[in-house]
Subunit: 406 residues, 2 copies
C-alpha cells in the first residue's frame, strides 16, 4: 500500500493530540482510503526544518497559530502544490483571500474545519451540503469560553470576574482571556463562516464585535425573570442586498435553537427559506476534539477534490441593521420620567413592547423591551436618553432575538 | 460549458420540488462545479420510459419510494455506471447491501442524505467528518410525525388520538399513519445510520421497535412533574463488543441535547470519546427540505468521488441491552404491596431509584424509576409483577436516559 506523508507544523496541545490520533487511526484510514498516512516531520520552535518537511510532505497540517510565520509556511506549502489543513482562525479571517487564491491557483485543497467550532462540522456542511443553497442567515455561538462564563453567571448568580476565574481554573479560559471575552475570537470565526455561507470575502476588520466584560448579574437575573437566555451571538445575514456580520451579547427567547446551548459548547444555526433551519452543536474546543476535526480534513484531502465553490458573489458588507433591544435604565423616581423616555424613543420611531418599573427608595429601575428598529436609530435615542437629567447611570442595552421557531 | 444529465424517477411532492429546485439552482451549480445540470427525463406512473432515461442520464435520482420497481431501477442504474441519489429509506434498510455492493463494483456513487432526517446532514457527517472516528453511540429523533404528536401531547395534555388527528390536519401525518407511529419508519432510518456509524450491515429486521400508540396523557403528566421529555428515540450503540440498534419511547432528562427538540423536527446526537458529542437538528421532512438534501447529493456526485469507506467491520447485532426504566403500576391500596414489588425487583437484581405513591380511593398508583438493568431481567420482573393479585392493570414501562451531558 502506498503511503501519504503529513508534515506537521506546531506541536502544542492540538499538535501533539493530532500526532497521537494520526498514529492511532492510521490503520483504519489505510483501510478506508487505500493509503497509509504517516508523519513526514514535525516543526516546533526548537526543532525541525520547514523546507525539509515541505519536500517530503503530501499535505501540511498547520497548528502553530498566529499570523507569522504560519502565513508564510501555508503559502509556501500551497504554492509547492501541497494540500494544507489548518485550524488557524486568525490567519483565515485576516489573510483568507490570499490563501484561497493560492490554493485555487495550485489546484490543491485548503481545509479548515477545526478553525470554527472544533469538531462541529459546520465548515463542511456549508461547503458541501449547502454549497448551492441560498442561505438567509447564520447564527453562531462560536466561543466556548464566553458561553461557559455566561452559563455559569446564569446558573449561580456569580459576577463576571468570578465566573471568569472559574473558567480559568477549569482550563476553559486562558490566563489572558482578552481575545475570547472581547468577542474578537468569535468575530474571526464569523468572518470565516460568513465567507462560506455567502460567498463574499469578509475580513475580520469588517466584523464589529462587543464582548461580555460588561455583563452584570443583574442582566442575567432579569433574563431569568423573562425566561431569556443570554448568549454571545455571532450573526451573519443578508440585509438590503448586502451582508451584515457581527458579534454581540444577545438575549434569546426560549425555543430558539441556540438558547439551550450551555457550558463550553459551540453551536451554529443556518437559516434558509429552502429548509427553515439546521442547527449543529458540540464541544467547541479542546485538543482531542480539534485534532479529530483536523484528522477528518486530512482524510478528505487524501481523496480526490471536493466541491470547489467559485466565489462569484460579492455582497456589500453593511453595518447598520435592525434589532430588538432590552433597555435597562436607572432613573430618579419622579413623575414624568417614563413619559419623557417614551417621547425620545417615539421621535426615533422606536416602539416599546414591554416595560417593568421597579422602585428602590428615591430611585427607580426601568426595564424595557423595544420592537426591532434600525440600530443607528436606537443608539441615537440612547445617547439622548443618557443626557436626560434624571438618568442616574449609563443606560444598558442588550439585543434581543424573539423570532419564534417551528 | 458541458452539461450533466439527471434522470428523475418519481414526480410526487419531493420529485416535483426537486425538479423545480434543480432548474432554479442550475446556473449557480454551473458556476460552482463547472457543469450545468439538466433533467434528462422524468419517469412517473403514467409517462416516461426508464430505459430511455437511463441511456441519457449521467446520474439517476430515485424518488419513487417503495421497494419495487425502485430496487430494480436503482440496481440497473448502478450496473450501467450511473451515479444514484435516493431518499428511499425502506429500500436502503432492506436491500442496502446489494445496492452498496453494486455501487462499489461499478465505481459510482450511491448517495442518500435525504433518506434520514431530511436536510440535516447526518449522513454526510458520518461518511466524511467522522469516517475514521470510533463512534460509541448514536441517538436519533428521526421521525417528525411522532415527535410532533408527543410534543403536542406534552404541550396541551391532549390524548394520542387527538394529537394524531391534529398532525394529520397539519400534514405532519399521513391518512394511514401506521408506519410512523409504530416506530417502523424510525427503525429503517436507524438501520441506515447504524451501518454508516459502525460499518456493520444492519437490516431493518434486526432493529426491534416500539411505537407511541400506547402513550397516555398520564405518562406525559408525570414526565412534566419529573421534568422529563418523552421522545421516540432511536439508539445505535456498541454493547459488549457487538452492536445494538433499537427504537423506543424514552424519557430524556433535561440537559440531554435531544430533550429540547420539539415539533416535527429531527435531530441526531453522535457520541465518541474523541469529541464527547455532536448534535445536528433541523426539519425532518417536507418536499422542499428533502429536495434540498437530494440536490446537495447531486452536486457532490458531480465532483470526483468522496471517501469510500471499506466495510471491514462486522459487529454482531445484539438484542439485550441495559436501560433505566420508569414503571407505572395501578395496585390495591393495602399493606405490603410496595414490599412485595420491591422483592420481585430485588430478586432480578433491579434497584429502585425513586418511588412516588399516589392514593386514589381503595387504589394506589406507584410511579417508580429503577436504575439501569439488563432489559431481559427487567421484563422478566415485569411479567412476575403483572401476575401479582393486587396489580389492577397491566404495568406500564418506559425507558429513561439520565446521563448528564456537560
Amino acid at each position: 500500500m502506498t503511503s501519504f506523508s503529513v508534515g506537521l507544523l506546531g506541536h502544542g496541545t492540538v499538535g501533539s493530540a493530532f500526532a497521537r490520533l494520526l498514529e492511532e487511526r492510521a490503520e483504519n484510514i489505510a483501510l478506508t482510503v487505500g493509503r497509509r498516512p504517516e508523519l513526514a516531520g514535525v516543526l516546533t520552535r526548537s526543532r525541525g526544518d520547514f523546507a525539509e518537511i515541505l519536500t517530503r510532505a503530501d499535505l501540511v497540517v498547520e497548528l502553530m497559530g498566529g499570523i507569522e510565520p504560519a502565513r508564510e509556511y501555508v503559502l509556501r506549502s500551497l504554492n509547492a502544490g501541497k494540500h494544507v489543513v489548518t485550524a488557524n482562525k486568525q490567519l483565515l479571517s485576516q489573510h483568507g483571500e490570499e490563501l484561497y487564491a493560492a490554493a485555487q491557483e495550485a489546484q490543491v485543497q485548503l481545509r479548515f474545519e477545526a478553525s470554527v467550532a472544533g469538531v462541529v462540522p459546520v465548515v463542511r456542511v456549508l461547503q458541501e451540503t449547502l454549497a448551492v443553497t441560498r442561505i438567509e442567515r447564520l447564527h453562531g455561538i462560536v466561543n466556548g469560553t464566553t458561553n461557559f462564563i455566561l452559563s455559569e453567571m446564569a446558573r449561580t448568580g456569580a459576577t463576571y470576574e468570578k465566573a471568569l476565574g472559574q473558567a480559568q481554573e477549569l482550563g476553559y479560559a486562558e490566563a489572558d482571556p482578552t481575545e475570547d471575552v472581547s468577542g474578537k475570537d468569535a468575530a474571526a470565526k464569523m468572518a470565516i463562516l460568513a465567507r462560506l455561507a455567502f460567498g463574499t470575502p469578509v475580513h475580520l476588520d469588517q466584523v464589529p464585535y462587543e464582548g461580555i466584560e460588561h455583563i452584570t448579574p443583574h442582566d442575567l437575573e432579569y433574563a431569568a425573570e423573562l425566561n431569556l437566555a443570554l448568549k454571545l451571538l455571532g450573526t451573519a445575514e443578508r440585509v438590503d442586498g448586502g451582508l451584515s456580520v457581527r458579534v454581540h451579547p444577545v438575549f434569546l427567547y426560549p425555543g430558539h435553537p441556540l438558547s439551550a446551548v450551555s457550558g463550553p459548547f459551540n453551536a451554529v444555526t443556518v437559516e434558509s427559506p429552502a429548509f427553515t433551519e439546521i442547527t449543529m452543536s458540540g464541544p467547541g474546543a479542546g485538543g482531542a476534539q480539534t485534532a479529530t476535526a483536523v484528522l477528518g480534513d486530512v482524510v478528505t484531502a487524501m481523496i480526490p477534490a471536493p466541491p470547489q465553490v467559485d466565489w462569484t458573489y460579492d455582497l456589500a458588507v453593511v453595518s447598520d441593521v435592525t434589532s430588538a433591544f432590552y433597555l435597562h435604565l436607572e432613573v430618579d423616581d419622579q413623575p414624568g420620567v417614563l413619559g419623557q423616555i417614551a417621547q425620545v424613543l417615539g421621535l426615533q420611531g422606536i416602539s416599546v413592547k414591554s416595560v417593568v418599573q421597579k422602585g428602590m427608595d428615591d430611585q427607580a429601575r426601568l426595564l424595557m423591551v423595544v420592537h426591532p428598529v434600525l440600530e443607528s436609530r436606537f443608539f441615537a435615542a440612547l445617547e439622548l436618553i443618557r443626557r436626560l437629567g434624571f438618568v442616574r447611570a449609563a443606560p444598558r442595552a442588550i439585543r434581543v432575538i424573539e423570532e419564534e421557531f417551528v
